[in-house]
């Protein structure tokens, strides 16, 4: 499909009825492309790393530094853009790990029932009964606070939501005639699960993944804020807010721009997710 055809499709028509979700889509496309092109479009790409320039420290926003500079003279705009990179990368990888990890047991529990269901669903209940931030904190306290470990910690507590989702969907879908029809013509279990049931879960999965991007970004920022996430000098939005918060209210630009960046990311994915939910007509 060529790009122009998308705007002429029925799906786009339905989606574009909701101006807020179009706004969400614009935000998401905006910061995803900015993050993607970070090394080329930021004014001071080297400021994303361990860079020190005390002469220019704590400068308020100006033409040279739109978002001002931090306590050791790094350009905040450049760091925020690179911070998006980290956040998106993290959220994306967390979902890549958590979604299959959650989807497969969910399918199995929903389809086979019995002992499978009991064991799988009770394990997910255990995970879901612990508040996510607490569990992630525990895991991070246990491991070294690095980007990889943050991904592991967040994935470890994210998959049960997908198990839940898929379990419920599978239980509904397995009584559909086309699933029975596939069973009748002798389709093996894997075929029924992966080719008959799973494709019908994609709309719900896609919507939930979009909404979860924002939750994961927020959680990662929360971990960063508490000092258990990605460590400096890596420009992580949460830790940047935490660092800057010490200088409020005089050096307000230190925490405010990174905080706004988190807000925009979360807002963008949430609005887009809402739009997808209406477009794909799913219940999440």
């Amino acid at each position: 499909m060529n790009p122009a055809a998308i705007f002429r499709s029925r799906g786009w028509y339905k989606f574009s009825r909701n101006k807020l979700s179009v706004f969400g889509l614009v935000l998401v496309i905006g910061f995803v492309s900015v993050a993607f092109l970070a090394p080329f479009i930021t004014p001071y790409p080297e400021h994303a790393g361990p860079f020190v320039d005390f002469d220019n420290a704590t400068k308020p926003p100006s033409l040279a530094h739109w978002f001002g500079t931090d306590v050791i003279g790094r350009d905040i705009l450049s760091r925020v853009v690179f911070g998006y990179r980290i956040s998106l990368e993290l959220a994306f990888i967390v979902l890549i790990i958590a979604v299959p990890t959650g989807v497969i047991p969910g399918l199995i529990a929903g389809y086979f029932g019995g002992w499978w269901e009991t064991v799988i669903m009770r394990v997910t209940d255990v995970f879901l009964s612990v508040p996510p931030l607490v569990l992630a904190l525990a895991i991070m306290g246990f491991l070294e606070p690095t980007l990889t470990n943050a991904m592991i910690a967040i994935s470890a507590m994210w998959w049960p939501w997908y198990t839940r989702l898929l379990y419920n969907l599978t239980r509904q879908l397995k009584n559909e005639d086309y699933v029975t029809a596939a069973e009748v013509v002798g389709a093996p279990h894997w075929h029924v699960l992966l080719r008959e049931i799973l494709p019908n879960c994609v709309p719900s999965l896609l919507t939930k993944m979009t909404l979860d991007m924002s939750f994961v970004i927020l959680l990662a920022a929360g971990l960063g804020f508490l000092g258990l996430g990605v460590q400096p000098p890596t420009p992580e939005l949460g830790s940047m807010v935490a660092e800057g918060a010490n200088y409020l209210p005089s050096l307000w630009w230190l925490p405010v721009f990174s905080g706004l960046a988190i807000l925009i990311a979360v807002l963008g994915f949430n609005l887009l997710g809402d739009g997808l939910r209406d477009l794909l007509d799913v219940d999440i």
Partner: protein, 330 residues
């Protein structure tokens, strides 16, 4: 042809264990389908027809289900087969046609995807291009004039009648020996249902497949089937050729079914059967029809004998004890 029937069901019992108690849904069902034969199973809604079909296919393996009896296919007991063997048998030799053709197709795949899938399952060596060609030919045979458009479509883009034809084509494409048809087309309008039946008759005759048609419409049964089983509350109350049963129904339930059909000729209004299909957790003792039967006596409270009235002609009612050739007491 051998003497062994294609499908032989003997003393099939099925119970659901529920909160309300044990629901005895199928009670000693006996049935035979021979090779290439068209058999109908008729009864009112809730009499256990669909449960019976699902049991034969082995689709009811939930925790609260208890099945006993025998289902033999080519003389081989289906309950003795492993899961995998049963699946294999289902795919190649037994298929099913569902009530609602739109629901029986997966909404996220095109007709082409779903048809080639089935064709290749029947013949794994078949390449996709070949399978697509087979699908196209098969659709042309069921008078679909633009097979390529249909193949490219998703189920919800086609009409109910079109989907029904696709479903029938898919069911018969691997040349099964036995087709179980659960009221095909009942969800469609009457003219399409009519077409569906005619199409099914033609295709199954061409393929030499036996059909077990589940129906509640006696007109459909008369038109389609050679032999008929009448089911009431999970038991077969009468069996015979369509001609025999329609000319001279023996069981009071069968008679009541005929009396309930509206007619164009003759003055009498159709008569409804009083009461409802019983609650299976507290099924009536003895003959399950006796609470609704105009001829019921005290003797109906013990299980009725199965009376053989002639070759292939049986009835489960004490009214005909005098004329019976043979009586088997249950």
């Amino acid at each position: 042809m051998t003497d062994v029937p294609l499908l032989q069901v003997e003393d099939l019992n099925l119970k659901f264990h529920l909160f309300e108690g044990v629901s005895h849904v199928l009670d000693g069902v006996e049935m035979q389908v021979r090779k290439g034969e068209r058999v109908a199973l008729v009864g009112e809604s809730g009499c256990g027809k669909s449960v019976f079909v699902r049991t034969v296919l082995g689709l009811l393996n939930r925790r609260n289900v208890e099945v006993s009896g025998e289902i033999r296919y080519h003389g081989e007991d289906l309950f003795g087969l492993s899961d995998g063997q049963r699946r294999d048998l289902r795919g190649r030799k037994i298929t099913m046609i569902f009530q609602d053709p739109v629901a029986a197709l997966n909404p996220v795949f095109t007709i082409a995807d779903q048809m080639t899938e089935v064709i290749r399952r029947g013949n794994p060596k078949c390449r996709s291009a070949e399978a697509l060609d087979i699908a196209r030919q098969a659709l042309l045979q069921v008078s679909i004039d633009e097979p390529d458009r249909v193949l490219k479509s998703y189920p919800f883009q086609l009409s109910g009648g079109m989907n029904q034809r696709v479903i029938i084509t898919m069911a018969l494409i691997n040349r099964p020996e036995l087709v179980l048809a659960d009221e095909p087309g009942t969800s469609l309008d009457v003219t399409v249902q009519e077409q569906t039946l005619r199409l099914m008759t033609r295709l199954t005759q061409d393929a030499g497949a036996a059909v077990l048609l589940i129906a509640h419409n006696l007109g459909v049964v008369r038109e389609f089937a050679e032999r008929v089983y009448v089911m009431y509350a999970g038991t077969i109350v009468e069996e015979g050729t369509v001609e025999e049963v329609f000319r001279d129904p023996l069981h009071p339930y069968t008679k009541a079914l005929f009396a309930a059909v509206p007619r164009l000729t003759g003055g009498a209004m159709p008569r409804a059967i009083e009461g409802m299909v019983p609650d299976y957790t507290r099924a009536p003792e003895g003959c399950r029809f006796h609470p609704r039967c105009p001829h019921a006596t005290e003797r109906c409270k013990v299980p009725p004998p199965t009376l053989t009235m002639g070759p292939g002609r049986r009835v489960k009612c004490i009214l005909h004890e005098g004329q019976a050739v043979e009586a088997v007491h249950g």
